[in-house]
């Protein structure tokens, strides 16, 4: 993400004091109050400087906390009192997933102008992580029912984004029940394969883990091989803008990425 943004002239500075956002699924399930307190601190580290994240879960979690702290005076006073013990005052900056920085007509034109390698002939299934656009009253990005930012970007990079059944279905990863999670994953992979996809494109670390690692676990347990490599949007974008595939960490993927059009 950092390299893709740098190539587009967007400066990003790493905030090394962040704790876990905390995650909107597991940590919040133990204590919503502690989730809100930790999120309030992360929001308040750099005043009103906008925050950009690699993960939709982080952006959604921090945006929802920001929304709650803006609307609910009681929650805001409580958070401010907790932060005071650490010598911080409450700030509520805008939080965005990096895809938001890549969308919009002007930015799309800049990306299009910078592309020197296209993924012609590559048929992909785009998967939108649920937290990328939801809860929409707090996240306020793209369409929460039918988002299109990923489709627009992969199309701009020369690949073909295929329609497939259950395209907007969750990947299943956040369910804390293994059986439910695996059943959803199998449904998604089957639908992608049936549509003729050669690869999956997404922009969420947890969806990535589900589709990449989960796919190999599913194959081991059920014998069903889907052979669908998974790409983070930023990997394809960097390669399209001129970065070498060998710099993109493709060797760390569980599902091998060789033999895919445009990927060396």
């Amino acid at each position: 993400m950092r390299r893709a943004l740098e190539r587009l002239g967007i400066a990003v500075e790493e905030e090394t004091r962040f704790t876990c956002c905390p995650d909107p699924v597991v940590f919040r399930s133990a204590s919503r109050a502690d989730w809100l307190a930790l999120a309030a601190r992360n929001l308040s580290l750099d005043g009103e400087t906008p925050i950009v994240t690699l993960c939709p879960g982080c952006a959604s979690s921090l945006s929802e906390a920001r929304h709650i702290l803006s609307e609910d005076a009681g929650a805001r006073d409580d958070a401010a009192a907790r932060l005071e013990k650490l010598g911080l005052s409450l700030s509520l900056p805008r939080v965005s997933h990096f895809l938001e920085l890549l969308s919009g007509e002007k930015r799309m034109q800049e990306i299009g102008a910078g592309v020197n390698r296209k993924f012609e002939g590559l048929k992909v299934a785009c998967h939108y992580g649920c937290h990328l656009t939801r809860p929409s009253d707090a996240v306020d990005f793209d369409d929460p029912e039918k988002p299109r930012c990923l489709d627009d970007l992969v199309t701009l990079l020369g690949a073909e984004s295929l329609p497939y059944e259950d395209k907007y279905l969750c990947c299943g990863r956040p369910s804390l029940d293994e059986g439910t999670s695996a059943a959803i994953l199998e449904r998604k992979l089957s639908a992608m394969k049936e549509a003729g996809a050669q690869a999956i494109v997404l922009a969420c670390p947890f969806c990535f883990e589900q589709f990449d690692v989960g796919q190999t676990v599913l194959a081991r347990k059920t014998g069903k091989e889907f052979g669908l490599p998974v790409f983070y949007l930023s990997q394809l974008l960097c390669m399209a803008l001129g970065a070498a595939g060998s710099d993109m960490g493709l060797g760390m993927h569980k599902v091998k990425t060789g033999g895919i059009p445009g990927i060396e």
């Binding site: 004091r17 704790t19 876990c20 940590f27 133990a30 919503r32 650490l86 956040p174």
Partner: protein, 154 residues
């Protein structure tokens, strides 16, 4: 006022349920496209909210509660016409379940890690090495004492 196990509607409201479960008129839109309802046998959001309102939801905060099957996809939250924010009610039920000591081990593990180190999972040596190789700075999250000041019910 309704009760759920040893807790009451007030406990759910305080966690963020905000009297929401009571707004439910059982239309079922939360069930239609719910991934957990579709891919498991015993997760039904409409039934869960009805049980909460009727005060017969003790099993919802018990050891085998279906509430942990929810994928937190927010589809119900986006579509509920009564403004229930169903996911907030599910999170409140999970918080009560945690207080009763009935949450899955993974929840307890991640909570312990975040409250001790600030991170859900400690960075492995390999991850630290990879960050260095990529030119990324080290991390300096909060220590346990500072985390203690920030969290807890006081």
């Amino acid at each position: 006022m309704y009760t759920i196990g040893g807790s009451t509607s007030k406990d759910i409201d305080a966690i963020g349920g905000r009297e929401l479960a009571r707004l439910c008129y059982s239309c079922g839109i939360c069930v239609g496209d719910c991934p957990a309802a579709r891919f498991s046998d015993d997760f039904n959001p409409r039934q869960i909210f009805l049980k909460v309102c009727l005060g017969i939801g003790e099993d919802l905060i018990g050891e085998a509660s279906p509430v942990w099957k929810c994928t937190t996809c927010y589809t119900c939250y986006e579509r509920c016409p009564a403004g229930v924010k169903p996911l907030d009610v599910i999170i409140a039920l999970r918080n009560l379940s945690f207080r009763e000591g009935n949450s899955p081990e993974n929840v307890n593990k991640i909570r312990r890690s975040v409250l001790a180190t600030g991170l859900a999972g400690a960075l492995t040596q390999r991850a630290v090495g990879l960050r260095e190789k990529m030119g990324l700075p080290g991390t300096e999250p909060l220590d346990e004492k500072e985390l203690g000041l920030l969290t807890g019910d006081e």
